[in-house]
Symmetry: C2
């Protein structure tokens, strides 16, 4: 079969597209990045690829299944991006900051994919299709290892806290990313100023993480 770019339309004369699954994923990713999840429609994709409106159903049971596949692909790229960032830095602290920055950068570079991965579409379902990034996923593993590396040099006695600390770091960078993508920050301010504030806030967040990790162990806050 002649290998065409997977996003290509089906030639008019042909009956089978041949790479429809890949083509759908690519086109869906493009739409999601450019126009958002809300604008994604199976029929629209089918039209775009020169294929009948029911063709996608043979590759993805429904719209949700397509989004889940997109999320899975996103998780793979995401984990790779974080691992890459970690590999580039040798100093444990700088490594942690690099991972944090990579986390946010991924969200900024691929807002659509990021929203698919962490958005409500896949989690508001009953039952949720459980995207393949549980706590044992690649991204989490990178973060956890990086935090362990930092604790090893600053507070080996807090080794056992690694999971909690990693969660806190995850929450911080995730929150920063979400606030930028969907939060009120961007809507309220002119773009340039919003961006500047966000950058400053992100640096402050990383600084907070650094300060907490450098600080000696402290009694946790009183539980409510």
């Amino acid at each position: 079969m002649p290998r065409r770019p997977s996003t290509a339309r089906k030639p008019a004369g042909r009956y089978h597209h041949g790479e429809l699954r890949h083509a759908l994923l690519d086109a869906a990713a493009a739409v999601v990045e450019r126009e958002g999840i809300g604008a994604l429609s199976l029929r629209e994709l089918a039209r775009r690829l020169g294929v009948s409106h029911a063709a996608p159903a043979h590759h993805f049971a429904d719209r949700t299944a397509l989004l889940a596949a997109l999320a899975a692909d996103g998780y793979a790229r995401f984990g790779a991006a974080l691992a890459d960032a970690a590999r580039r830095e040798r100093d444990p602290f700088e490594r942690l900051f690099a991972v944090g920055r990579a986390y946010v950068q991924f969200a900024l570079d691929h807002p659509g994919r990021f929203r698919v991965m962490f958005g409500r579409e896949l989690s508001e379902l009953d039952p949720p299709p459980c995207p393949p990034e549980p706590e044992g996923g690649a991204a989490w593993q990178v973060l956890l290892d990086t935090v362990r590396g930092v604790l090893e040099v600053t507070a080996p006695e807090r080794r056992a806290d690694a999971e909690g600390v990693a969660f806190a770091c995850w929450a911080t960078v995730h929150g920063a990313a979400m606030l930028w993508l969907d939060g009120p920050l961007r809507a309220a301010l002119p773009p340039a100023e919003a961006r500047a504030r966000f950058e400053a806030g992100l640096e402050a967040s990383l600084a907070m993480i650094g300060a907490a990790l450098r600080a000696p162990g402290r009694p946790p806050p009183r539980r409510r």
Copy 2:
């Protein structure tokens, strides 16, 4: 006009509902909390309230306008909840922790509303309808004041950092909330264990914030 509970159906004999706007908002909030944003349909609401399918259009230009109104209402309750939590605690640190817990608690108690407030529906639009919670909103103000209170007793010389620190705290609790609502945490683990891990992670996050605020000023991470 006889004052009925605003969620009531229109009596069969009457032509005008009379409280349709409030009824729509209440019913929409209920649906969103119970079945998620995706399940919200203007026609369904109209049926539920015993009103024609086009009636809602006279009160909300479109589905988005209804969501925006819901978000506005949510922001008001949210700001009040945070202010309440802040008022209850006198010690600056405990106050900050209380505000953080209140933030997450609101998300846990009203996941639907929280998703409407901070979700993509209203931000993926072009142009975004800009929910009325810019950086100057009530919730942000409570958080900022609380952080200022902490800095005042721990590091008055870092007064100027208050905005950055507040952003970091905001990001952390927001991220924790989002990870619980839509993240992989819940889907991957059995409910009880997921909840336990989340609680532990939240406490670790608050501890991280506390440690960072107690620590003396540190050089920020190297900017990339």
